[in-house]
């Protein structure tokens, strides 16, 4: 039993019409799904019990039963043990621990909440991942006395891996450290440092005592120094999930609805975006397109529908569509591939072995799949990448998988519904693995690429320019970005089509999972190189400003594009000058050891040996330096339309 969230006094409902209005007004109530994670004894069950208790969901007879139970199993003397409200199964009660995922419900005027209660034991990564897969937000509990534990790091990591963008750091048992602000601030600061790389959209630390109710649902006098919201206030107001409406449209077909020969509908739950009557859709795997004729929703026929709705659509044309197909926006198509790279969480006692055949359920499609390679395993406590030949229970691996037929999907980061899959053991039928797609592997992404008959030269011709990568390399503070930005402005004023890639627009999005270790720097440059290649393919003059310290990666980026399309520009500013400029104070921090792996200090910079352009910057006006680059481009015919030998035949 739950619910009567709304403990409005009976007198508020003088007439039935008022009740009806009141209930119908609840129609707009939002839903938030969150999970709670913490180590044993952090007080997780007590916190959930407190939320349920305080939101008055615990009815008198449940309380009566609870008092009886507390005397038998309770751990807090004659007080009611709130944890007993939520620890379900008999065996767990005997052990005094929660061992599986359980779901709780409560509601306020603003939102209904579904809580996934997951255990904090070492061996239960799979349970937490299960709870996290459907959650919008994670509440990470820590005991104020102990501060951050190895488990806290693990929980933050798994939350991030499963795509949760909002976290609450619940610093519990603050009563046991005398409601100390100093203690709270110290734990909060430590968390912010280590969680920075996860780049959660919101990250709220709240001091609380679940046992005594401080700052859970009501403000506490004892925590008067804390200016932030209570846990419940935050949960009621945090903005979540609006991005799902702006995603490209996706509809995995669950069921083909054929009541008679005159009606052929495709039923499924919209996994992203919106759709309207008349819009062109594509069957991802076959590439066939048609337009939406009707949209039938549970509420009747409609002109449009959006993410989350379970709909039935009919199309103008009769095309071959069956369960397992993915209907998608024809302008923004998913990947279709028979190989992909994914993070895989292993959930079975029997280890995952590369080469073994499993069933993969992805959207509404089930295919056979094998892991062809474990690229690395991730240590969930240190986030280190380690080598491995197999995956054991609760291990996470970054793997390549190969499927029996091409399937349609999106990267998990883009869409949690179309980017996720489970693996099923073919003999026991158990769910043994959960995967999050990272990207399609290139060999297989040819399905809709074949349809492209507009090529690079056609695009370049249309834009009236010769595409190229201007690859700026140099130390931090050498002036790469400043010069690149000026060059871009000059090109723009000449009517050239350009795009600039730099740390600001890449590190925060595409490469936000990367740090500054050598391995991550390599990957950073590899991705920048790939993106630059695509932009060149689109016909753009592409400017990249990255330290890119290693010769090997610059060479790799060079080889990704065609002959003459890669212009390496070495911004040659001596390190002494860079230190003197130090616009972000980074050298100072690096020399104190506050920043690790800093190029020029404790990480090497390999000077380019065959750069097309070398820019000396000391004592010069950046304007002049930028002009030097433009002159190079002009002199080498980059700023004129490419000449076609057989004009027009490319299109």
């Amino acid at each position: 039993m739950s619910d009567a969230e709304i403990i409005a006094p009976a007198t508020a409902f003088e007439t039935e019409a008022a009740v009806t209005d009141y209930i119908l007004a609840q129609e707009d109530k939002d839903q938030l799904r969150f999970l709670t994670c913490g180590s044993v004894d952090d007080g997780k069950s007590t916190l959930i019990g407190r939320l349920l208790y305080d939101t008055k969901l615990i009815f008198e007879d449940q309380l009566a039963a609870l008092e009886k139970d507390s005397r038998r199993h309770g751990t807090v003397g004659e007080d009611i043990d709130l944890a007993l409200l939520v620890d379900g199964l008999e065996a767990e009660r005997e052990q005094g621990i929660t061992i599986d995922v359980a779901y709780r419900f409560f509601a306020t005027e603003k939102r209904k909440f579904i809580v996934a209660d997951t255990p904090g034991h070492e061996q239960y990564t799979r349970n937490m991942a299960t709870g996290a897969s459907t959650a919008d937000l994670a509440v990470l509990l820590v005991d104020a006395r102990n501060g951050l534990m190895v488990q806290t790091r693990r929980h933050a990591f798994i939350a991030s891996l499963l795509g949760i963008r909002h976290v609450v750091l619940a610093i519990n048992k603050i009563d046991l450290v005398d409601y100390s602000q100093e203690r709270f601030e110290a734990i909060k600061a430590e968390f912010e440092t280590f969680a920075a790389s996860f780049e959660f959209e919101t990250q709220q630390a709240i001091p609380m005592s679940a046992r005594f109710g401080d700052n859970v649902t009501g403000k506490s006098d004892k925590l008067a120094w804390f200016q932030g919201p209570t846990l419940l206030e935050h949960l009621e107001t945090v903005k979540i999930g609006e991005e799902e409406l702006s995603q490209p449209f996706r509809l995995p077909v669950q069921w083909v609805n054929r009541p008679n020969l005159d009606f052929r509908g495709y039923s499924g739950t919209i996994a992203g975006g919106t759709v309207s009557v008349g819009e062109e859709l594509v069957v991802a795997a076959s590439g066939k397109t048609s337009k939406v004729e009707k949209i039938i929703t549970p509420e009747g026929e409609r002109n449009s529908a959006r993410a989350g709705e379970a709909v039935t659509v009919t199309l103008v044309d009769e095309i071959d569509i069956s369960r397992g197909d993915l209907l998608a926006s024809s302008v923004s198509r998913p990947d279709v591939a028979d190989q992909l790279a994914a993070h895989l969480i292993w959930m079975s006692d029997d280890a995952m072995l590369p080469g073994r055949s499993y069933l993969m359920k992805i959207g509404s499609k089930t295919v056979t799949a094998t892991v062809t390679e474990i690229k690395h395993k991730v240590n969930v406590n240190t986030f280190e990448h380690v080598a491995g030949k197999q995956l054991q229970l609760n291990e996470i691996g970054f793997c390549n998988l190969s499927m029996s037929v091409p399937v349609a999907f999106d990267p998990y980061e883009v869409n949690r519904q179309t980017g996720s899959f489970i693996l099923i053991d073919r003999v026991t039928n158990a769910t043994v693995g959960a995967g999050m797609v990272w990207f399609a592997l290139r060999r297989a992404t040819n399905i809709h690429w074949q349809a492209l008959d507009v090529d690079k030269s056609a695009r370049a011709h249309g834009l009236g320019q010769t595409p190229a990568v201007l690859w700026f390399t140099g130390l931090s503070g050498s002036g790469k970005s400043t010069i690149a930005s000026m060059v871009e402005k000059k090109l723009h004023m000449e009517g050239r089509h350009t795009y600039a890639l730099d740390g600001d627009n890449v590190r925060h999005g595409l490469n936000r999972d990367l740090g500054f270790t050598d391995a991550d720097r390599v990957e950073n440059i590899r991705r920048v190189g790939e993106v630059a290649k695509l932009f060149v393919d689109a016909g753009l003059i592409t400017l990249t400003s990255f330290i890119s310290p290693f010769q090997a990666e610059r060479q790799m980026a060079r080889e990704l594009v065609g002959e003459g399309e890669f212009i390496e520009i070495f911004v040659d500013t001596p390190i002494e000058e860079c230190k003197k400029r130090d616009p972000k104070g980074l050298y100072e921090k690096a020399e104190k050891g506050e920043i690790k792996n800093f190029t020029g200090i404790d990480s090497p910079y390999e000077r380019p040996e065959n750069a097309e352009v070398v820019l000396k910057t000391v004592g010069r006006d950046p304007e002049d330096i930028a002009e030097e680059v433009i002159e190079y481009l002009r002199a080498n015919n980059y700023l004129v339309s490419p000449v076609f030998v057989d004009e027009g035949s490319g299109i």
């Binding site: 379900g88 199964l89 419900f105 709705e309 949690r416």
Partner: protein, 309 residues
């Protein structure tokens, strides 16, 4: 709520619409993945909502599975009438099954106790029915908020060939990817209403105007007071004990089951809004009206392990 020019809301779906869509997704998934599914229809409010959702899920087609009612022979007469009318109105196949051995032995709640009676006439009967028709999936209207052991149950709950549930060995269930694989003899119990609460149910009934058994609404009914509960004397089989007398009272039922085991509450709520109003200020939990849960502390979990829904 922000509405764009084409009338499309720019917000996420509301709680109720989200629950509705999730349930429809689950119902369609079962219909698509299983060879021979069935929907358990218990006639109560949760079943009524589940059936309503099934009708929506396949519109304009009919749900591609029959309804199954396990009749203990002790249901309220009004329930049976409502059941038959509903199946007819919606044009659905209805299978009614009663444990023939229990019937032959006249197993009843008075002589055999509620626990043994429930085991034979409900749990055993259900297993017999599933075996007889070879159903490999059965929908149930259970909600996770009803009771503690339900809170841990999966949406697709795996049952072995003896229909037993193993709470320690449940399949992980991530995203909305449900594992529907079973071997011969094994089955899945599917719970499309897992994430609904009682208020959601009532709110949805009100919003969608779903027909309900009249027993939920207050009326003058003949009741006797027994073990602190008001039991309706639905027919002559309820024998009066010493000192008991039948009185006509304004009562209604918060849950429906076998009439000798289902307590009525005194109420004059005779419309849906009145019922919801009463629920909002209720001080008694839903299942306290059912005798079976009082038998022992973890009775529900035990029953579920044995194959009860």
């Amino acid at each position: 709520m922000d509405v764009s020019a084409d009338g499309l809301s720019q917000q996420r779906l509301s709680n109720l619409r989200r629950l509705e869509a999730e349930s429809i997704h689950i119902i369609r998934e079962v219909a698509a993945e299983f060879r021979n599914p069935v929907m358990l229809y218990s006639i109560g409010k949760d079943s009524s909502v589940m059936l309503h959702l099934a009708m929506k899920a396949f519109y304009p087609s009919k749900p591609p599975f029959p309804l199954l009612h396990v009749d203990t022979t002790w249901k309220f007469r009004e329930m049976i009438q409502f059941r038959d009318e509903t199946a007819k109105r919606l044009g659905l196949d209805l299978i009614v099954y009663t444990n023939p051995h229990g019937k032959a032995d006249n197993i009843n709640p008075f002589d055999h106790g509620s626990s043994a009676y429930t085991h034979v006439m409900k749990t055993e009967a259900l297993k017999q029915a599933l075996d007889k028709y070879g159903f490999d999936a059965a929908f149930g209207g259970a909600r996770r908020d009803e009771e503690k052991s339900r809170a841990k149950e999966r949406v697709f709950s795996f049952r072995n060939a003896s229909h037993a549930w193993d709470p320690k060995n449940q399949r992980p269930e991530l995203w909305s990817l449900y594992n529907a694989r079973v071997s011969k003899g094994e089955s899945i119990r599917a719970f499309p209403l897992s994430n609904w609460t009682e208020l959601d149910i009532w709110q949805y009934i009100l919003t969608e105007d779903i027909p309900m058994v009249p027993l939920y609404f207050a009326a003058e009914r003949p009741v006797v007071e027994r073990d602190g509960m008001l039991i309706m004397r639905d027919d002559e089989r309820l024998k009066l004990q010493d000192g008991e007398k039948v009185e006509n009272k304004m009562v209604r039922f918060r849950t429906l089951g076998c009439y000798p085991l289902t307590g009525a509450i005194e109420s004059d709520a005779d419309t849906l809004p009145a019922i919801v109003k009463e629920m909002l200020i209720a001080r008694t939990s839903e299942r306290s009206g059912r005798l079976i849960d009082h038998d022992d502390a973890a009775s529900m979990e035990k029953k579920k392990r044995e194959g009860y829904f």
